[in-house]
């Protein structure tokens, strides 16, 4: 089932001088099995929105429907089911490495499954599988999560969420602060997770990533949905008004087109495919 947001409004610090409306009547469907990007300028409501997806926040008005779970302002109805929801919706915060806390990496990753009722052995088994999927081998199991590099720490933190095998994986700027190859590794990991059937919801500022990896994109602006479309269709519109940058790749392709070189939009996803298209067009002239 898709995730549905129905007229969701969220107000921080209501009835105080600090009152701030972060979401204003958001209506949205996130398709099951999609790799959906959530984009928009800093402060547009992205982080507020994703915290609704596993009930860390509840709407002031409206409802978020995830499978059989209704996240709305009525807390009583919700309490018992919240744990199930959190098992289904894994949320990876920005800079998740700040949340590492255990003595060893395997214990840190096993914390989630254990918390959801697994025995120690089951939890460790899941932790090992999750570590394998993020590319960390046995030699990491008993090391401290505080003595590894920043990129490795982030992978451990992500493994901690993957270990609970969520049906929906929500990640908040997973590539921030990483070098390009570290960013690519992380994104390829999410691609793999997506291909295995997980719905991935990604908050990002990097439009190159949206173009290369995502199936759908949602643009938030001042707490409202400004656009919901395919990534390829996004960059034809005036995205600068939402503080988004058209990827260089795309603007380069558009300029070639405006000068009469017809390129196949859907085929252009990265530098290699752009180069292929250019060669193809030149040869067919």
């Amino acid at each position: 089932m898709p995730i549905n947001l129905q007229d969701v409004t969220y107000v921080y610090n209501p009835k105080t001088p600090m009152e701030k409306k972060a979401l204003k009547g958001v209506n949205l469907e996130i398709k099951e099995g999609s790799f959906t990007a959530l984009v928009g300028r800093t402060g547009c409501g992205k982080s507020t929105l994703i915290q609704h997806l596993n009930a860390l926040l509840s709407p002031t008005e409206g409802a978020v429907v995830i499978d059989s779970f209704h996240n709305d302002s009525n807390k009583k109805r919700r309490d018992k089911k919240t744990k199930d929801l959190r098992k289904n919706v894994g949320l990876v915060f920005q800079f998740p490495e700040y949340q590492l806390f255990e003595e060893t990496i395997e214990k840190d990753v096993a914390f989630g499954p254990k918390n959801f009722g697994d025995t120690k052995e089951e939890a460790l088994e899941k932790a090992h599988r999750a570590l394998e999927s993020v590319g960390l081998d046995e030699s990491f199991y008993t090391r401290s999560p505080f003595e590894i590099s920043g990129g490795e720490k982030r992978r451990v933190a992500i493994a901690g969420i993957l270990a609970i095998k969520p049906k929906y994986l929500v990640v908040d700027e997973p590539t921030a602060g990483l070098d390009p190859s570290g960013a690519k590794d992380i994104m390829d990991l999410f691609k793999k997770v997506h291909e295995q059937g997980t719905t991935v919801i990604l908050v990002t500022h990097d439009m190159d990533i949206v173009l290369s990896y995502c199936t759908d994109v949602i643009v938030l602006d001042h707490g409202k949905v400004a656009l919901a479309c395919k990534p390829q269709d996004l960059f034809g519109t005036e995205v600068e008004q939402y503080s988004l940058q058209t990827p260089q790749l795309y603007s380069f392709a558009s300029k070639l087109e405006s000068r009469g070189m017809a390129l196949d939009h859907d085929a252009v996803k990265d530098v290699a495919s752009l180069a292929d298209e250019i060669i193809k067009r030149r040869n067919s002239r």
Binding site: R41, T42, D179, M207, F252, M261, V271, I279
Partner: protein, 272 residues
């Protein structure tokens, strides 16, 4: 004139973990350098050594003509400004003005002078209207501009940006990089060393230094460094869009004349 000379610098956190091996390079006054390299390549450790935050190194670090040692540490530090990665971790003042004033207070600048210095640097960084604001209420780009104003107020000769834009959104990033270019125009003697993952920023620098496994692998003009795309790939670094596309087209058998040096020229050439 060289404001920094690094000779045979080596550093290890402990016996098993050697981070810098025999690093040598120099920085010329007034130039804008970008230091790139993947995570774990030793960039941040190198920066810490330059700032005098790691004193147990081997080799020589000579800054402003003085060897970096206990005796010279404070006079050297007073000439270096640092802008860190996380804008939230570097505020001490409860307002933007207080924050810019912090360094000046430490320097015991008289109050009468302080106000005009604060106004001056807030204006230069585009933060004049925000002097009474609380830093925590600002956007990431604005926070970094306040940090830069605070650093500039101290009149440094060298500013080190330690991944200062990596936590900002594209707009914030652009604001900061544009500001750096503007500052350079206003202060021709100011040297900048920016540790960054942003290759598009590096493409606009005077020189690029590439670090890998604790050594300086390349140093040169952006076009020299980024043309060595296979060497960069070998250490998992990417080049700016133009260089990547040019290499991909050449690989596919297209001949591209040497004098094509920007994406605009390439576009022109392809459509000819």
């Amino acid at each position: 004139m060289n404001i920094a000379e690094i000779r045979h610098l080596s550093f290890a956190y402990n016996e098993t973990k050697s981070v810098l091996h025999d690093v040598s390079f120099s920085l010329e006054e007034g130039k804008y350098y970008c230091l790139v390299g993947h995570n774990g390549s030793g960039k941040s450790t190198l920066a810490k050594c330059l700032m005098g935050l790691q004193s147990e190194f081997e080799g020589d670090i000579i800054l402003f003509g003085l060897p970096l040692d206990r005796k010279n540490l404070f006079s050297i530090r007073s000439r270096i400004g640092i802008v860190f990665q996380n804008p939230d971790n570097q505020f001490v003042g409860s307002t933007v003005a207080d924050d810019i004033a912090f360094g000046l207070e430490n320097k015991r600048i008289p109050r009468e002078k302080m106000q005009s210095i604060i106004d001056d640097f807030a204006a230069k960084t585009g933060m004049a209207e925000y002097l009474d604001r609380e830093p925590s209420m600002l956007s990431g780009g604005q926070k970094q501009r306040v940090a830069i104003a605070g650093v500039l107020a101290m009149g440094p000769d060298l500013i080190i940006f330690d991944e200062a834009t990596s936590m900002l959104d594209p707009k914030g990033k652009k604001e900061i990089i544009d500001l750096v270019h503007q500052l350079r125009k206003e202060n021709p003697g100011l040297t900048i060393l920016s540790i960054t993952h942003d290759v598009e920023e590096a493409a606009r620098a005077d020189e690029v230094l590439v670090m890998n496994k604790g050594s300086i692998l390349m140093q040169g003009k952006p076009e020299e460094v980024f043309s060595r795309i296979d060497d960069l790939k070998a250490i998992h670094l990417s080049a700016p869009f133009f260089y990547e596309l040019r290499a991909a087209l050449i690989e596919r058998g297209l001949k591209i004349p040497e004098d094509i040096k920007t994406a605009e020229q390439l576009e022109e050439y392809l459509c000819r």
